[in-house]
């Protein structure tokens, strides 16, 4: 898998690159700002770009803007945004702008380099990735009349994994159950929450996230 890494802080960029290389990922280029990133993507034709959300000049959402530009220009290139913000708004924005082949992970996930590698793989496979911390914040959100109260423990777990962007097969593997069981859970959940079930996985993620935020 060929990856481009963009981060304006050399220290962290090098750390990420070393960890990725250590895990057997081919880092084909590095960039320190959004413009450099777009340039490298054009040159190197990577599978995924790993992008820091904060980059010059404003140090706010350059990563999100760059992600959109990459996805628009190179639909075959996925984007994984690394962020220090536990902000569902940012994750939702990323998904709403480009629902496919994108991911939003917190920076400290890089400690578990396996998680990052898995996320990169899933993105290359066309899936969506949302950080579990963000999903758990949304699932754990206080509600007056909690619609999630009607869900069983297992169903909640499955709902969270759906929100993280996992496919039924991935969920089945994670929970050590059959894919059929996961499908059954999914149908239950969508009926209980009165959500329209969609075969499109990205729409499924977006629908669940939006529901959790409402």
């Amino acid at each position: 898998m060929r990856v481009v890494v963009a981060d304006d802080t050399m220290l962290t960029r090098e750390g990420v690159v070393r960890l990725l290389r250590d895990a057997g990922i081919e880092v084909v280029a590095e960039a320190e700002d959004a413009q450099g990133l777009l340039h490298q993507v054009r040159l190197a034709h990577p599978d995924v770009a790993l992008v820091d959300i904060r980059m010059p000049p404003t140090h706010t959402d350059e990563g999100l803007v760059a992600a959109q530009a990459i996805r628009a220009e190179h639909p075959q290139v996925g984007v994984l945004v690394l962020s220090q913000y536990v902000e569902p708004s940012y994750a939702l924005r990323l998904l709403q702008e480009q629902p496919e082949r994108v991911g939003y992970l917190l920076k400290e996930r890089v400690f578990d380099i396996a998680t990052v590698v898995d996320a990169l793989r899933r993105i290359v496979d066309g899936e969506t990735v949302i950080d579990p911390t963000i999903v758990s914040r949304l699932v754990g959100r206080r509600r007056r009349e909690d619609p999630l109260a009607g869900l069983s423990e297992r169903e909640r777990e499955v709902l969270g994994l759906i929100a993280e962007g996992m496919s039924n097969r991935a969920i089945a593997a994670r929970l050590y159950v059959t894919e059929r069981t996961v499908e059954a859970h999914t149908t239950q959940i969508f009926q209980k929450l009165r959500l329209p079930e969609s075969p499109d996985q990205h729409r499924r993620v977006l629908a669940v996230l939006a529901f959790l935020r409402a």
Binding site: D22, E87, P88, R143
Partner: protein, 586 residues
Amino acid sequence: MTADLIRRGNLARLAAGPVALAVGLGALAIAQGPGRSTTYAGRSNLIATLTVAAGLALVGAGLVTAFDRRTTRIGDLAVLAGLVWFASVWVGWDNGPSLMRSLAMLAAGFTFPLLLHLALAYPSGRLRGAVPRALVSVVYLEAAIATLGRALFRDPFFDPNCWANCTDNLFLVRSLPRLARGIEVADRWFTAAAAAALVMVLGWRLLRDSWPARRALLPVALPAILLAVTVIAHTIALQRTPLEDPSDPAFGAIFLIECVGVLLLAAGLVWAAVRTRVQRRAVARIATSLGQAPPPGSLQAALANAVGDPELQVTYWLRDAEHYVDAIGRPVAEPVAEAGRAVTTLLRDGRRIAVVSHTAALPELERELGAAVRLALENERLQAEALAQLDQLRASRVRIVETGDSERRRLERDLHDGAQQRLLALSYDLRLAHTQAASDGDAPTGSLLTDAIGQAKAALGELRDLAHGIYPAILAEAGLAPALASLADAAPLPVLIHDAAERRYPAVVETCAYLLVAEGLDDAAQRDASHATVTVVQDSGQLVVTVKDDGTDRTAAMVQLADRVGALDGGLAVEPTRLRAELPCG
């Protein structure tokens, strides 16, 4: 008053009345007797009455005008012009005393110079500007030379065009009929030219001046222009018919219009005097009309109303701040005098309190303002000073809040870009070391490093929360609505947000609204509320933010919030289970 009257000038003015009456009645007698064919007044009783009335009116108006100390010069000029006006009748006293006729002949030459002087010096009595000064000097000089030449060399007997007085000149030294004729013609054309110049100067003034100044000038300027036109017409008529003849309709009409002009001039002077008197009373009464606690600016309005100058402006001098402000404390430029506008500095106990910019037609406002008005001015100045200080205070409060906010923002960035990045880099190294230890089979180091990674993770989490608490980046980047949604995501109690304000607002307003909601939710959770409702609505220039909950009654006063809202000039209502802030948002 008595002391004033004893002064010579006033004695002379006192005598002017009876003298004018005598001279006027004499003129009437001459017109109806010996001067029937040698004066215009002798043409008919009506014209005789008009002639005498015009002269007497001018003298009377002059006396009324001179009574006001600020316009004595104008009054004196009018009295003199009125007296000299009768000279043209006295010249025609057929078979009268030679000295009288000779003197009257000389005096008659000064009627026009006096009227011109009066018109140009009105209303202050002083000649302002080089052109009017030069014009008046030259006209007097020419009149003096022409009169001298007439006295010394004109023998009426040898004047083929003589009509009013063909016999008497007591001052004749040598009869030079041709020189005398030349002097007459030159004098006539010079006077016509001066009259044209007068029309131009007055016309230019009327065009240039602001409305209040123009209104003050018109009652004198218009009759003066009319009189100047008759002078020009008379010169032209004489050019056509060298022998002046009162029975000629053209000459008769010109004289009639001249009488009307003088009457109008007298009426204008009286009207102006009365108006000034009324204005002075009004100015003096301003203080009583203001009432107990006049709102800022009422003094300017009252003063403008009293002097009939809607453009009048009162500005106050702030000694400490060393600049001028208007009545509500806003800084304004120093008022300066310009065309048609004058500036009066008002003092109280020797200190500058206010500067009034007003029409130049109101020459000495300073003297008109009584002690009561000065006190009112001082009061309004103090009020303006207080308002100016309040404005400054307000601006400084906003600045303090804004500085604090931008400091928080900077701190948040520093944490993210500095400490957090270093901690991340450190953690990555730990991770690498851990992998190394694992591949080396060094279990104790591996578990130590796992602990260290755990600690670093916890530190990162805390750092992130700290940075978010100092300043939520999403607020600056995405605005109030996403930031509030994020607040609700992590709130310790269910929060319902009704947010109708989708647009961006000034950073200081967004931060204030955000902090209000954040503190309101924390407070609600502490008072065991089961849920809270946040409403954000924009209502004509105000962002109204409400946080309502169902907890127990509030005990905290929310002082810091109130300070912050107050700094934005907004209002915060702290109720037992509701916070409501109105934030001006432009």
